[in-house]
């Protein structure tokens, strides 16, 4: 048994089997995967997936022991040996739930799907269980598929630590814990196992979210809500109603659940949506797109292992194509920044990652400023049109250049004009409709307006659009209907939505955008005038 000092929980106790896992290269890799992308705004937020995984392990052990109290009254058909086995597997799942995370966490995640086109098959090959395969490939998998990092974590864990598992059913349960794929069986035993799975992987509240909400707030210094972990975990219970068995919380935990949702809301609203953080995320994504294009196999499963993989590199350098090979293993954040620094030093956008002097700045600096400039003057319809236009433009220009380049400048303008010609040609051939053909003209209108804005304000015609999600509270999530609160003194349980007096956010437009540009010495941007120019464009007739 080891005890590790933790600023949030005091001490985290780790049993000998877990210590052996933690000491491996695969787990130690997590020391080099940042937990959040907040460091550009909050320099102290340097915590990583390593300590977060230990935190989830700690909470998971507490949570499952609380749940086990229910089994003393009613075993639900489990023997003691069976229960011990599932508890052990659940604890390992908590420890290893992020072991396959991509560099820079969620920023790099989608590249897993591209580099490992058969990620679901890889996962099922590890587990080798028919029932699990049926879940993964079910029709509704299009809407309930596990995230890439979840699948990759299950794959890495099962392949790297085979001694944890005695048979394929063990692997199945473990994989379900990490991916969140429920059994959804009528069998009571499986319903109980689904309750255990949801302790780690749930859409509303689970031990993973609990740790990162608390840890993120503490490292940032944004402690706006007190979360009583002990009260929450001690309230975990199994609720039986309408022939169903659900994971629920005692009424005493209701206030803490609300606080967790408040805390997560605060993080989403004031931190995740901050333009500085969004812009840095944008730069990193651009960097990773460049790397992914030139470094085949960097985001494959093999690159995450200790054995690693030979990565072929093919990129343009001073007008010639360079071919090279490198061996990459246990790929982490530092590999990405190394490659960005040395192989893409001439990329202007990537250059902004390493030097703030060269960085663009947002014209409006928060969702609140955006709303002040645009919401009150435009009706709902015009506002939706504006937001949709810029969101579409952001995505349209990504695909235009031979090399990824999300910048709006003269070169982009020329490429969009070329696209307009190609659209018209295809329309003449009957391959697309006139309605589709007209869509490009809209992009040209906005690009030319931005050119005009640059000219009138004496700044370079060089913009980056970053779309941001407007804040929506976790209190209006549809899944809140599925979270039950138990009132044992009343002998009943109810969905949290029916018993909590929380205010729900009003239904509103869902996305807005930031516009970034270079500052020019001596030039003070007239933000209101720029917003007026954009708004005016919405009312011009074509």
């Amino acid at each position: 048994m080891k005890r590790i000092k933790d600023p949030i929980y005091g001490y985290i106790e780790i049993d000998d089997d877990a210590v052996k896992i933690i000491d491996t290269a695969s787990f130690q890799r997590l020391r080099n995967i940042v937990q959040t992308s907040y460091v550009s705004l909050y320099p102290a937020s340097h915590h990583n997936r390593f300590i977060h995984s230990l935190g989830v392990y700690h909470l998971g052990k507490k949570a499952i022991r609380t749940l086990l109290r229910s089994f003393k009254c009613k075993p639900y058909g489990f023997t003691d040996d069976e229960l011990n086995k599932y508890v052990r597997l659940f604890e390992f799942a908590c420890l290893l739930h992020d072991v396959g995370h991509a560099p820079f966490s969620h920023t790099g995640e989608n590249f897993y799907f591209q580099a490992n086109s058969n990620l679901k098959e890889l996962l099922c090959d590890c587990v080798k269980d028919k029932a699990f395969e049926e879940t993964v490939f079910a029709k509704n998998s299009i809407v309930k598929q596990a995230a890439a990092h979840e699948m990759m974590s299950a794959i890495v864990a099962i392949n790297t630590f085979p001694r944890i598992f005695r048979n394929k059913k063990d692997k199945e349960f473990f994989a379900r814990c990490i991916t969140g794929y429920l059994y959804n069986s009528v069998d009571k035993k499986y319903k109980i196992l689904d309750c255990i799975i949801q302790l780690l992987n749930s859409s509303i509240i689970d031990m993973d979210r609990l740790d990162y909400v608390i840890r993120d707030a503490q490292t940032i210094g944004f402690n706006n809500v007190a979360i009583d972990i002990e009260r929450l975990i001690s309230g975990i219970c199994i609720i039986e109603r309408d022939n169903n068995i659900l994971l629920g919380y005692d009424k005493s935990a209701l206030s803490v659940i609300e606080n967790v949702i408040f805390a997560h809301d605060s993080e989403k609203k004031w931190i995740q949506n901050h333009p500085t953080i969004l812009y840095e995320h944008n730069i990193l994504q651009h960097g990773m797109r460049c790397i992914n294009r030139d470094y085949s196999k960097l985001f494959t499963y093999q690159a995450l292992t200790q054995e690693g993989i030979a990565v072929e590199i093919k990129r343009e350098l001073d007008g010639t194509i360079v071919n090279d090979n490198r061996h990459i293993a246990l790929v982490a954040d530092n590999d990405i920044t190394y490659i960005m620094k040395y192989d893409y030093s001439d990329d202007l956008l990537i250059g902004e990652y390493f030097s703030r002097e060269k960085r663009r700045h947002p014209i409006w600096k928060s969702e609140a400023e955006y709303r002040a400039l645009f919401d009150s003057d435009l009706g709902e319809e015009k506002l939706a049109l504006l937001e949709s236009s810029f969101s579409s433009l952001e995505k349209f220009i990504e695909d235009l250049h031979v090399f990824p380049c999300p910048i709006i400048n003269n070169e982009t303008l020329a490429l969009v004009e070329q696209q307009e010609k190609e659209f018209k040609e295809k329309e003449k051939l009957g391959l697309i409709s006139d309605k589709d053909s007209k869509l490009v003209s809209n992009h040209l209108k906005w690009i030319r307006l931005l050119q005009n804005i640059a000219n009138e304000n004496g700044i370079p015609f060089n913009f980056v659009i970053v779309t941001a999600n407007k804040f929506q509270s976790g209190f209006i999530k549809p899944d809140l209907d599925k979270l039950y609160i138990d009132f044992p003194n009343l002998g009943l349980s109810r969905p949290i939505k029916k018993v909590s007096t929380i205010l729900t956010a009003s239904k509103d437009r869902e996305q807005f955008f930031y516009l970034f540009c270079y500052a020019k010495e001596g030039v003070k941007l007239n933000r209101v005038k720029i917003a007026d120019m954009i708004k005016a464009e919405l009312f011009t007739t074509d």
Binding site: N140, K144, A147, A148, F396, L431, I432, K435, D436, E510
Partner: protein
């Protein structure tokens, strides 16, 4: 360069084609979307345009959160429908205008439309 196609992109483009068809439909099944997505991805990859479909519960949550005025997801029937009052033109403006010509042609390819039952 790899493009990530989400469920909202597939649903929107499928529904545009279904609405423009001779027998307009406002609903598409999950099965149809998976098959449509597979064909579109294959067409793009054959054209050396790297594309990946991203289906995940996070993406679905994003669809429901960001586009609930466009789409109604019925998990029991396993369908995605266009909300009342929304038209193909609305879908075009919000979801199709981000497509360059190569991508648009892939979404409108005959093989892809065949999967949706459009001749």
């Amino acid at each position: 360069m790899c493009k990530f196609i989400g469920i909202e992109d597939l649903a929107a483009n499928a529904l545009i084609e279904l609405l423009d068809a001779s027998a307009p439909m406002r609903k598409v099944t999950f099965r149809q979307l998976i098959d449509y997505g597979n064909v579109v991805i294959k067409i793009l990859n054959d054209e050396s345009l790297s594309a990946v479909a991203i289906y995940s519960k996070d993406r679905t949550e994003s669809l429901i959160r960001n586009y609930s005025d466009f789409f109604d997801v019925n998990f029991d029937e396993e369908t995605i429908s266009l909300c009342e009052g929304k038209t193909a033109e609305d879908l075009r403006i919000h979801f199709r205008s981000m497509l360059t010509i190569d991508w648009l042609l892939a979404f409108r390819n005959k093989l892809a439309l065949k999967v949706l039952g459009i001749k």
